[in-house]
């Protein structure tokens, strides 16, 4: 229990540090949001509008420490303010347009990729030199080495544009009413196949390779020899003894990957016109939309920390040694 509390304290400290960075870094960037938005019009609105924009965004000349405490207070009360780029829509509404879709698509893809990749790694290590090990592993590593953007475009071109098996864009058809109907769910599924598969294909190799390598090392240990000598069934040795021990590094990586789901799927979103938070993040940075940036960073920070905390707990369960220290 003390171990869990200590970890929790560490995470609180980490959250505070990243929220503070989140406050400071955007303010160090050159320019300001009103001029950024004015410039986006490329001369199509009159220069007087710059004054209007500055009035609306209400820049305070308050000293930094006052701004900082207002910022913390707003965060604690869940008040993220109004987005500049989408002014006057609230940040929560803007993030709401993409958050669930990103979680759904990238989250599922990471879980599938982790589960399948790890399982393949276990099998490859167990049957070392088999076709899984000698053909599939290099093939997946080869695919994973392609730039993701290119891979996704190719998939879109082949299966969407050329063969017409899958839709070219979006998370669901524009003429289907969203709701808990079978038609809508099937539609969402159909739209998710290409983007999700592209993420899985691009990342599968990594999981498989790292699992295989750790597993090979574990297979050579005395524990395994003992397990074999005891006459345990091979399947049990493979899963309960070897895989469980080899899983630890992969689980840590999984925590990281889960945490980065919210920020990391920008390219998928752009290639497949999928709604999501990656695109919002880029847009926020480009428009110096501090409130939107802060809202997104908060969500991402919390996601990374929560995923890592979950992994800590998982490791506690997987690895008795951590329990002994606690």
């Amino acid at each position: 229990m003390r171990y869990v509390l200590r970890r929790l304290g560490f995470y609180l400290l980490a959250a505070w540090a990243s929220l503070t960075m989140n406050f400071v870094i955007p303010r160090l960037a050159p320019g300001d949001p009103a001029t950024a938005m004015f410039a986006r019009f490329e001369g199509r609105i009159s220069p007087e509008a710059l004054v209007a924009l500055k009035t609306a965004f209400g820049f305070t000349d308050a000293p930094w420490h006052v701004q900082y405490f207002t910022y913390l207070k707003h965060l604690l009360t869940g008040d993220f303010g109004l987005s500049y780029a989408y002014y006057p829509s609230p940040v929560t509404e803007v993030i709401g347009t993409g958050l669930l879709w990103t979680l759904g698509l990238a989250g599922c893809a990471v879980i599938i990729s982790f589960a399948v990749g790890t399982m393949l790694g276990v099998l490859a290590a167990w049957n070392r030199g088999g076709w899984l090990d000698s053909a599939l592993a290099p093939a997946l590593a080869f695919l994973g080495a392609f730039p993701y953007f290119w891979l996704a475009m190719l998939a879109l071109y082949l299966f969407g544009f050329g063969l017409g098996w899958f839709p070219l864009r979006h998370a669901y058809s524009h003429d289907v009413e969203p709701g808990a109907t079978l038609t809508f769910i099937a539609d969402v599924g159909r739209h998710a196949v290409l983007p999700a598969t592209s993420i899985v294909v691009a990342t599968l190799g990594g999981w498989m390779l790292s699992m295989r390598n750790t597993m090979v090392a574990v297979l050579g240990t005395d524990t395994l020899r003992l397990a074999h000598a005891k006459g345990l069934p091979p399947r049990q040795v493979m899963l309960r003894y070897a895989a469980r021990n080899a899983l630890l590094p992969n689980v840590t990586g999984f925590g990281m990957a889960l945490g980065f789901v919210l920020s990391g799927s920008l390219l998928t979103e752009i290639v497949f016109s999928y709604p999501g938070t990656g695109y919002l993040l880029i847009l926020a940075v480009r428009n110096q939309d501090y409130p939107l940036m802060q809202g997104l960073f908060l969500v991402i920070t919390l996601a990374v920390l929560a995923a890592n905390f979950a992994v800590d707990l998982l490791c506690l369960w997987l690895d008795p040694r951590t329990r002994a220290h606690a």
Binding site: R44, P47, P88, A186, G189, R190, I270
Partner: protein, 551 residues
């Protein structure tokens, strides 16, 4: 292995369900438009806030203005107002409003609504995008159909800002606590499309205003907008025939789009966009010397530049710097001036004359012997300008100048440009209904800001007293002949002083697919700009289009 099997079978089921889905027929009479590029839509139909937050066509399609300016015709046409008159002393402007106009909730549109809209701008400076309260002193309704604008000083160009202001209903906005932060999710307006019939993160649809004042219009049943995050996705939908009307840049458009269906696919890229300039920072020597600026201009091979940077979609700029929207204002004599034509010999002569002579290494040096280096600043990702900058740098190097292209991230580039912390930069110019705005922010001393202070334009920081006097006279005359004569003199001053180096006018991108709808503007029928980005022309197009099949 069981979980993997479960996942596989679920996927398979979904696939089967998916593949059985035949493409559904398009809703008839629904026009698919691609203007804004977003990965997801946020519901906002506030027509008053000047930022980019409101969905297209809030400012010209949902809401309407008093009179429409169409650059393709070079004139105003009546819209919510049937006409206007200036008082004898040019201090009062009266608009006569159209009778029989109703808001989309059925209430009558009156002069009170117009007066109230402008009072809102007065109360909330954040809404006053045109800065109209710099020259207005009062707005009153005189009866139900006349609005009188009282000017604090005679300022004829202010008419453009008043005529273009979207008008909101008083009976709705009176109840809004803060009109600046109001997202107006269900607009009540006078325009042809006011009913938000669908709004989801990937699609929204606007349906007809049941009370629209033009009988039988609009003929289009609804407008539908799909979310495309970038140009590539939007172009794909256009080429595929899913989108009917778009305003995107399409590379090699004639081959990639028009040739796919020459009978229906059309594009019209008139040069109505703002002129792109190479801005010299005239606060720094030797760029404060007009001979040097003209020499830099003459060093450029603009024919090659537009071919390389703009795929030949535009032409080299002339010596007035004006784009084709001002064709009626352009002075042919000035336009022909030599300083925008490629002439390396003359450029070298001018530089020698200005004291920038070549050293033994072939590089030009300043009068004090220090080597002259010139940095040309552009935004990193803007490939057309990056290519333009490369051509410029190469042409300048041929003259013995050490010119370098420097790319910056957008906000850094913009901060340097606006604060005057650059030598040479490529950027756009400002537009308005008359060349007044353009030249004011090119030459007027009133627009010059100190180095280090943000300037919305006039980044070259150049002021010309003679132009100031001409612009002052322009502000107080409503005679077109006199305006024309004054503008000819301003153009002459521009050409003489060369405060900035014009490169090329921007095309205004517009593509249409007439398979399902007819009535798009074309080069032969230029009743409006085809580009949906062009406000308020979009009102003209939206009311002119008609579906081919019976709706």
């Amino acid at each position: 292995m069981r979980p993997a099997g479960l996942i596989a079978s679920t996927l398979f089921l979904l696939l089967c369900a998916a593949c059985s889905n035949e493409p559904r027929p398009r809703p008839p009479g629904t026009l698919f438009v691609s203007v804004e590029q977003q990965s997801a839509w946020v519901r906002n139909f506030n027509p008053l806030f000047p930022g980019a937050g409101s969905r297209w066509p809030t400012r010209a399609g949902v809401y309407e203005c008093l009179e429409l300016y169409t650059p393709s015709k070079g004139d105003y046409q009546p819209w919510l107002a049937t006409g206007h008159t200036w008082s004898e002393d040019r201090r009062t402007l009266r608009f006569t409003l159209r009778e029989g106009v109703r808001w989309s909730d059925g209430k009558a549109f009156t002069a009170e609504d117009v007066a109230y809209t402008f009072q809102l701008l007065r109360k909330h400076a954040a809404l006053d995008a045109g800065g109209v309260w710099r020259f207005l002193s009062d707005v009153r309704a005189e009866g139900a159909h006349t609005v009188a604008f009282q000017f604090s000083r005679t300022f004829i160009p202010g008419f453009g800002d008043l005529a273009a202001q979207p008008i909101v209903p008083r009976h709705i906005w009176e109840l809004v606590a803060d009109p600046v932060t109001f997202t107006n999710p269900n607009p009540v307006a006078t325009g042809p499309f006011t009913q938000v019939s669908v709004f989801r993160n990937q699609v929204y649809e606007l349906s007809r205003n049941p009370y629209y004042w033009q009988p039988g219009k609009p003929a289009v049943r609804a407008l539908r907008f799909l979310a495309f995050p970038t140009n590539d996705q939007a172009n794909l939908a256009l080429v595929e025939g899913e989108v009917d009307w778009a305003g995107n840049f399409v590379p090699a458009v004639d081959r990639t789009f028009v040739a796919k269906d020459p009978k229906h696919h059309a594009r019209w890229f008139p040069l109505f966009g703002s002129t792109v300039f190479l801005y010299p920072n005239t606060t720094q020597p030797p760029l404060n010397d007009v001979r040097v600026r003209k020499a830099l201009s003459m060093a450029l091979d603009r024919e090659r530049l537009v071919e390389i940077a703009m795929y030949g979609y535009t032409r080299p700029a002339d010596a007035t710097g004006l784009n084709d929207a001002y064709a009626g204002w352009r002075d042919a004599d000035v336009a022909d001036d030599a300083w925008v034509r490629h002439d390396a010999k003359e450029a070298a002569r001018l530089l020698d004359e200005a004291g920038l002579t070549k050293g033994p290494d072939g590089l030009r040096r300043q009068a004090d012997g220090s080597p002259l280096t010139l940095d040309i600043e552009v935004v990193g990702g803007w490939s057309d300008w990056v290519r333009a900058g490369q051509v410029v740098a190469r042409d300048l190097r041929k003259l013995g100048l050490q010119a370098q292209l420097r790319t910056y991230e957008f906000s850094a580039w913009q901060a340097r440009l606006q604060k005057g912390e650059f030598q040479l930069a490529i950027s756009w110019s400002l537009d308005g209904p008359t060349p007044y705005t353009f030249y004011k922010w090119m030459l007027s001393s009133a627009t010059v800001r100190a180095v280090g202070e943000v300037a919305p334009a006039n980044w070259q920081r150049y002021g010309d007293k003679e132009t100031d006097a001409l612009l002052e006279r322009f502000e107080v005359t409503d005679s077109r002949e006199e305006q024309q004569a004054l503008m000819a003199q301003v153009q002459r001053r521009f050409s003489e002083t060369a405060p900035a180096i014009p490169l090329f006018p921007n095309p205004s991108w517009g593509e249409s697919n007439s398979k399902r709808f007819t009535g798009f503007p074309t080069e032969a029928n230029p009743y409006a700009r085809l580009s949906p980005h062009a406000e308020p022309d979009s009102l003209l197009v939206l009311t002119a289009l008609a579906p081919r099949e019976a709706p």
